[in-house]
């Protein structure tokens, strides 16, 4: 279908999905920028989603977020064509090429569903007349995998989600959390590289939900799937997503990394969403630091002031490594803020953090060091910037 090199696992290009008879008129109204309400009033058609363009890289967890009815599921379900786009293309990576699922033949679509894209449902959608093991093997059975291979692969998946003791039970004998583990195992069993998850944990109580989120992240470290995850819960989106797309009234209004969403909301709708988010839960040292190029020089030979109050300075060598540190005029040691408790008893010290260190840890380090600034070193120990108390306050108050 295309011979261009495939760079994304899934790519939506200008996808419009309209439910109802009056497709053409509704599409014309979409082109004029009409809202969902206007389209419904004039044509009776429901706008599922409009003008959605989004590329999802391999191995990424991309979250679709928005209020109920904002079109998240509609867009997600276009990937395996449970919803058929009225217009636009959805490219799905298939080996070393990409297939447009909106235009491929039935056999190709079936192969994509059997081998490339698996799905986890909000209400689990298990088959109650099948045992746990038979449910997990469902996709393999449809794909015609032999009984012996199926048995072996199902056993492996059950082990993975910790349900090997439950293989012979029926779904209703399991708790909600366990049922969704079966749903996960069923999706993993086909070994499809792309996973669609439509609010998979929303039906679970909060404790179980957190647990399954953690398990998913843990599994993802080794499985490296491409996951499109629908959620209406921003906390969940921030925790799970590498990237988040916010949807409103069928349209994607902002796409970005979690902290971008929190730091630079694109409109009032997004701002409303993040108003209850504790910025501490997403911000890292990287998001609030001042770059070393913006720091004030503190004399000759590469000395730089880390803070605006000029209490602490570093001497940075030409290779970017820290050569010496000084605090309140006395030579100081520099200590990782991962070992807050292993403080040098005698000498003054300055904490350093990595770019990915949570802001919370940085603040704790400041607290321990009587509001001294914190230095930022990258993973080869090169000096990249510093965080003073004012930078932290700006980050938390979301002014930049």
């Amino acid at each position: 279908m295309t011979s261009a090199p495939v760079t994304h696992a899934v790519e939506f290009k200008d996808v419009d999905i309209v439910f109802g008879e009056e497709q053409r008129r509704a599409l014309a109204m979409i082109d004029q920028g009409a809202s969902r309400e206007q389209i419904l009033r004039e044509t009776g058609a429901v706008l599922g989603c409009a003008g959605a363009s989004l590329a999802i890289a391999e191995g990424e967890i991309s979250v679709l977020m928005g209020l109920s009815g904002s079109g998240k599921s509609t867009l997600l379900r276009a990937v395996n064509l449970l919803n058929v786009p009225s217009r636009g293309t959805v490219m799905v990576k298939d080996g070393d090429r990409a297939v447009d699922v909106t235009a491929c033949d039935k056999a190709t679509l079936r192969r994509i569903r059997q081998e490339r894209v698996a799905m986890v449902f909000q209400q689990f959608a298990l088959l109650p007349w099948r045992t746990v093991a038979e449910n997990v093997g469902f996709g393999l059975e449809l794909a015609g995998v032999s009984a012996s291979e199926r048995k072996e692969r199902v056993a492996r998946q059950l082990q993975l989600v910790g349900l090997d003791q439950w293989a012979g039970k029926y779904a209703h004998e399991l708790s909600g959390g366990m049922q969704q583990r079966v749903g996960l195992a069923r999706a993993f069993a086909t070994e499809a590289p792309i996973l669609l998850m439509d609010e998979p944990f929303s039906a679970l109580d909060p404790l179980i939900r957190t647990k399954l989120q953690d398990e998913l992240l843990q599994l993802q470290k080794t499985l490296r799937k491409t996951i499109i995850f629908v959620s209406h819960d921003l906390e969940e989106a921030l925790k799970i997503g590498n990237r988040i797309s916010i949807m409103e009234g069928g349209r994607i209004v902002q796409t970005g990394a979690p902290e971008e969403i929190v730091l630079k909301p694109a409109n009032d709708y997004v701002r409303e969403f993040i108003s209850n988010v504790n910025p501490m839960s997403v911000l890292t040292a990287w998001n609030v630091m001042r770059d070393r190029r913006d720091l004030e020089p503190a004399g000759e030979d590469g000395w730089l002031w880390l803070d605006r109050r000029n209490t602490t300075r570093f001497k940075v060598g030409p290779d970017g490594l820290v050569v010496a540190a000084e605090r309140e005029g006395r030579p100081a040691a520099w200590v990782s803020c991962d070992d807050l408790d292993a403080l040098p008893a005698d000498a003054p010290f300055v904490f350093w953090a990595s770019p990915g260190t949570p802001l919370k840890t940085v603040m704790l380090a400041m607290h321990r060091s009587q509001t001294a600034p914190v230095a930022l070193l990258d993973d080869t120990s090169r000096f990249v910037g510093a965080i003073g108390i004012r930078d932290v306050l700006q980050g938390v108050l979301r002014r930049s």
């Binding site: 449970l82 799905m119 449902f121 959608a125 088959l127 007349w129 449809l142």
Partner: protein
Amino acid sequence: MNWLPEILSEKIPVGRWGKLFFDFLTANFAWFFDSIASALSSVLGGASAYLLMVPPLVLVILIAALAWFLQRSWKLALGVALGLLFIINQGLWKETIETVVLVVSAAAASMAIGVPVGIWAAHNPRVYHLLQPVLDLMQTMPTFVYLIPVLILFGLGVAPGLIVTVIFAAPAPIRLTYLGITSVPKPMLEAGEAFGATRRQLLWKVELPAALPTIMAGLTQCIMLSLSMVVIAALIGANGLGKPVVRALNSVNIPLGLEAGLAIVVLAIILDRMSRIGGGVRR
């Protein structure tokens, strides 16, 4: 203002048209209906004859064993055995076997027609809309009305009995299969689609298993409806428990009527309990 009475006085010849139609069928397709009738009566007659060759007590034990096998219940097996012994005791064994053969084959035929038609209608709303009035007709048209054409086409005997019974009983499995298939939860269907099921796989691996309890309720209903037709079947010459009832009616014979009626009730209970397969299991 005077056109109204004119139209009303002009009787629409529905009855005559119907008769013309059946005259046409008998004139041109008599060979066809005759061969169906003789095939059916030899199959059903043969089945009854075979079963009657088995010593009654052996058959009672076999049926009780079947009851146990279907429902895993000793109580039911015992009840079935006692019920059948009562029937033997009343001297109605032969009639009961003939009725069982008629009822079971009518139910089998109704299911063989009803399940596929029900599935077809469930997948095809247009078919369902067309089918709806036909089913209503089959179930509400007084049986005696279609007895006449069936008699004309198939003559007297067990064949017309079977056909009338099927006409009366088949709507139940059609409706219940339709109901079962159309009420399969959407997420289950989507799970099938999302994992790449073909239409056929969707039917066999999702829809039918999900609808099975409802379809089985259709089987039970179908057997009961077939049993309720034994007296009418007897009127057109089918053998079985209906015969003594008709005889009792004609000769105002209270004891005979009571015996045959009780045997029918016992048989109904046995068949009902035994045919509740799959209902209430799981879910």
